[in-house]
C-alpha cells in the first residue's frame, strides 16, 4: 500500500465523502492541511473570522443537505468557531469541523495556542474526537461524517494534533461503517403507525405541526401528500418553513411566539396534533399547560429524547420522518377504513373555522405611507424573487418578519438560526449557500445590529465572487430587545439604542461591494430590483419605521392564545 501523510489522507477522506467546498481560516497548527488542500480539487474558502467559516459551512449544509465542512486552527481559531458550532447543534445541522491542535507531546502543557476544544465543545457537538494516533485518522474521519449525517444530524468536531497529521500512513480501504454503540432507528414501529392512522381517522379538528426534522429527512413530499390526502391544515415551526408549501391553502403559516393567529388558535382548539420532526420548543408552546389542551398528540421524531420531553405524547413514533410518513401514506392508501372524499369532507367545517380566524386576524401591518414598513420590504422581496430565493437571516425582528412575510414553497430555501438565535449567522450562511448554488439568488435578511457581528465576511463574498444580497432592515435599534422593553419594561431602552451605526452604503463600497439605500416606501422596489440585477455583492440599507413591532406576539410564559395583535 502506498504511504501518504496524514493531511493527504484527510483530504482524500473529504473527497470520498463528496466534499467540494470547505471554509477555513489557517494558523500554525493547521498549516499542513491547508498545504495539502492546495493540491486538491476542493475549493478552500478563506473567511475572515472562524465563526464565519462554520456558519458558511452550516449554510451550505442547510441548503444542500450535504455535510458542511470547516477547517480551523487550534486555540483561538477553534474557540472562535464555538458559537457557530453551537448554532449548528441547536438546529441539528450535519457538519464536520476539523481543528488543528498542538503536537501530542505538548497537549496538557498549556502550550502556545492550546485549548481543550474537545472539552469545550462536548455539550455542543453531536460527538467529538481527539485523534492521538495517525492510524486512527481515516477511520475517525469516516465515522465523523457518518455520525454527522445519520440519525438526528449534527456537528462533529475532530481535533487534529500537528504531529499526527504529519505522519506517514497507509490509506485504508473504505468499508461500510458499523458502530456497536450508534445505530439510529429509521423504521417506524408498524403497530404505532396503525394506531396513529386510526386516531387520525377519528379526528375532527386535526393539525399537522411540522418542524425542521421534515426538512432534514427530505420528507416534504410525503408530508404534503399526507396533508392533502386527508385535508389536514398544516403549521410550521421557524425551522420547518418550506417543509410544506407556504402558499398552499392548507398552510396556516408559522406557529408560536410570532406565529399566525390562525395557527395558534388552530393548535389550541385541535383535538389531534400530529407533530412531525418538531420538538415542542418553548417558543412554540408558550405556557405548557395551555398548549393544545384538548389534543391527542402523535409525535414522530428520530430522536427518542425529543419525545415526551416537554409535552406528554400519546402516540410516540421513533423514526425518520420520511419513513414514518411513507408508512402512514401507505396505510391510508391500502386501508379499507379510509375513504378519502369522506375524510376530506369531514374536515371542511374545521377548515372553515380556521379560515375564519385567518380572515379575522391575517398576518398584516399598518401602512404608514412613505415610512418604510419592514413587512412591505419582505413582501416586495418575495414578489420580485418569485418566492424562489434562498433566504438566510440574522436574528431579531428582521428574522421574524422574513419568516412571516416570505412565502417559502420548498424546503432548503431558508436558513436561519432557530434554536440558538445567533446574531451574525445570516451573512456567512448566505455565502455558504451561494457557493453551493451560484445560480440561485441568495438574500440575507438582516438587522442593523446583527449584520455588524460578521460584517467582515463581505470581504469573503467579494474574494470568491459570491454576489449575495443583504437586506438590512435598519431601525437603528437592537429592535427585538427594544420591542420587549417597549412592551414589558416600561419603554426603558437600556442598551438597545445604537447611536453610532456605520453608513452601510459607504461600508459596502469600502469592501468593493455595492451599497444602496431606501428611505421612502416608493424607493423600495427600485432598490430591490437594482440589487437583484447587480452582479456583485450588494448591501441594501432600508431605513424602516424605527419602532415597528413584530406581531402577533405571545408574551413569554403566556398561553399561545393570548396573542398581542397588530
Amino acid at each position: 500500500m502506498e504511504k501518504i501523510n496524514g493531511s493527504q489522507a484527510i483530504i482524500r477522506c473529504l473527497q470520498e465523502e463528496g466534499v467540494k467546498i470547505i471554509f477555513g481560516f489557517p494558523g500554525g497548527a493547521i498549516i499542513d492541511l491547508f498545504d495539502a488542500l492546495m493540491d486538491s480539487d476542493i475549493t478552500n474558502v478563506l473567511v475572515r473570522h472562524e465563526q464565519g467559516a462554520v456558519h458558511a459551512a452550516d449554510g451550505l449544509a442547510r441548503v444542500t443537505g450535504e455535510v458542511g465542512v470547516a477547517l480551523l486552527t487550534s486555540g483561538p481559531g477553534a474557540t472562535n468557531g464555538v458559537t457557530a458550532i453551537a448554532t449548528a447543534y441547536s438546529d441539528s445541522i450535519p457538519m464536520v469541523i476539523l481543528t488543528g491542535q498542538v503536537p501530542t507531546a505538548l497537549i496538557g502543557n498549556d502550550a502556545f495556542q492550546e485549548v481543550d476544544i474537545v472539552g469545550i465543545t462536548r455539550p455542543c457537538t453531536k460527538h467529538n474526537y481527539l485523534v492521538k494516533d495517525a492510524k486512527d485518522l481515516v477511520p475517525t474521519l469516516r465515522e465523523a461524517f457518518h455520525i454527522a449525517r445519520t440519525g438526528r444530524p449534527g456537528p462533529v468536531l475532530v481535533d487534529l494534533p500537528k504531529d499526527v497529521v504529519a505522519k506517514m500512513i497507509d490509506f485504508p480501504e473504505k468499508k461500510p461503517i458499523r458502530m456497536q454503540t450508534y445505530q439510529p432507528n429509521y423504521e417506524p414501529h408498524q403497530g404505532q403507525i396503525e394506531k396513529a392512522c386510526k386516531k387520525i381517522l377519528k379526528a375532527k379538528n386535526p393539525v399537522l405541526y411540522v418542524g425542521g426534522g421534515v426538512i432534514l429527512s427530505n420528507a416534504h413530499e410525503e408530508l404534503t401528500e399526507l396533508a392533502r390526502k386527508l385535508n389536514i391544515p398544516v403549521t410550521m415551526t421557524l425551522m420547518g418553513l418550506g417543509g410544506f408549501p407556504g402558499s398552499d391553502p392548507l398552510s396556516m403559516g408559522m406557529l408560536g411566539m410570532h406565529g399566525s393567529y390562525a395557527a395558534n388558535m388552530a393548535v389550541a382548539n385541535s383535538d389531534l396534533l400530529i407533530a412531525v420532526g418538531a420538538r415542542f420548543d418553548d417558543r412554540v408552546t408558550g405556557r405548557l399547560d395551555a398548549f393544545a389542551p384538548h389534543a391527542t398528540i402523535i409525535h414522530i421524531d428520530i430522536d427518542p429524547t425529543s419525545i415526551s420531553k416537554n409535552v406528554k405524547v400519546d402516540i410516540p413514533i421513533v423514526a425518520d420522518c420520511k419513513f414514518a410518513l411513507t408508512a402512514m401514506n401507505t396505510w391510508f392508501n391500502t386501508s379499507s377504513d379510509f375513504n378519502r372524499e369522506q375524510v376530506a369532507a369531514s374536515h371542511e367545517p374545521w377548515r372553515a373555522t380556521i379560515d375564519g380566524w385567518a380572515l379575522k386576524h391575517p398576518m398584516t401591518y399598518i401602512d404608514e405611507g412613505e415610512i418604510i414598513k419592514p413587512q412591505f420590504v419582505i413582501q416586495k422581496l418575495d414578489e420580485l424573487t418569485h418566492g424562489d430565493a434562498i433566504i438566510t437571516t440574522e436574528v431579531g425582528q428582521n428574522q421574524m418578519w422574513a419568516a412571516q412575510f416570505y412565502k417559502f414553497n420548498r424546503p432548503r430555501q431558508w436558513a436561519t438560526s432557530g434554536g440558538l438565535g445567533t446574531m451574525g449567522y445570516g451573512l456567512p450562511a448566505a455565502i455558504g449557500a451561494k457557493m453551493a448554488f451560484p445560480d440561485k439568488t441568495v438574500v440575507d435578511v438582516a438587522g442593523d445590529g446583527s449584520i455588524q457581528m460578521n460584517i467582515q465576511e463581505l470581504a469573503t463574498a467579494r474574494q470568491y465572487n459570491c454576489p449575495v444580497k443583504v437586506v438590512i432592515l435598519n431601525n437603528n435599534y437592537l429592535g427585538m430587545v427594544r420591542q420587549w422593553q417597549e412592551l414589558f419594561y416600561n419603554k426603558r431602552y437600556a442598551g438597545t439604542v445604537m447611536d453610532i451605526t456605520p453608513d452601510f452604503v459607504m461600508l459596502a463600497q469600502a469592501y468593493g461591494a455595492v451599497g444602496l439605500r431606501a428611505t421612502k416606501t416608493s424607493e423600495v422596489e427600485a432598490v430591490l430590483k437594482e440589487a437583484l440585477a447587480t452582479d456583485n455583492t450588494v448591501i441594501m440599507d432600508f431605513v424602516i419605521a424605527r419602532e415597528e413591532c413584530v406581531f402577533p406576539m405571545v408574551p413569554a410564559g403566556k398561553a399561545t392564545t393570548e396573542m398581542l395583535l397588530v
Binding site: P123, K126, T181, Y182
Partner: protein
Amino acid sequence: MKHTISVLLQNKPGVLSRVTGLFSGRGFNIESLSVAETLDSSISCLTLVTRGDEAIIEQITKQLHKLIDVIKVTDIGDSEYVEREMVLIRVKAEAQTRAEVLRVIDIFRGKVVDVSPKSYAVEVTGSTSKVQAIIDILKPIGIQEIVRTGTIAMARASKK
C-alpha cells in the same frame, strides 16, 4: 424516587466527562457514581444513583443512550437486583471505646484493616442503608474520616 442506573460504555478517554457533563448540563442530579472496567477491558461499567420522577428518569436514560460512546443503559430498579457499597471508616478507638467499636464492627460483619494507637480503619460492605447505619452508629464514638465507593449494582439472574 431513587434510581440505580447501570451504563456500559466504551473505555475511552473523556467518556466519563460526557456522562457527568450531561448530568450537570441538564440539571440532573448524581447521588453516587462508580466506574471500572468490565471483563472486556475496552468496555467500562458505570453505576450511578440518581433521583427524579418518572419523566426525569426517562429523559436521563434516553439522554445517556444518545451519547455515542454508550453501549447500554439499564435502569436496574426495573428488576430484582443486588446492590453493594463499600465504606472505609477511620473511627476513634481509645482504651475505653476499643471494645465497643469492635463489637459494632462485628455486628456489621466489618473488618479492621488498619490499626493505630488511637484509631481503627474499618471496612464495611453492604447495601447503602447498611453502610449508612454503621456510620450513624459510629458517629457518636468519633469518626475521623470516611471514604465511600458509591453503589454498584447487578440485576439478579432469572430464577428459571
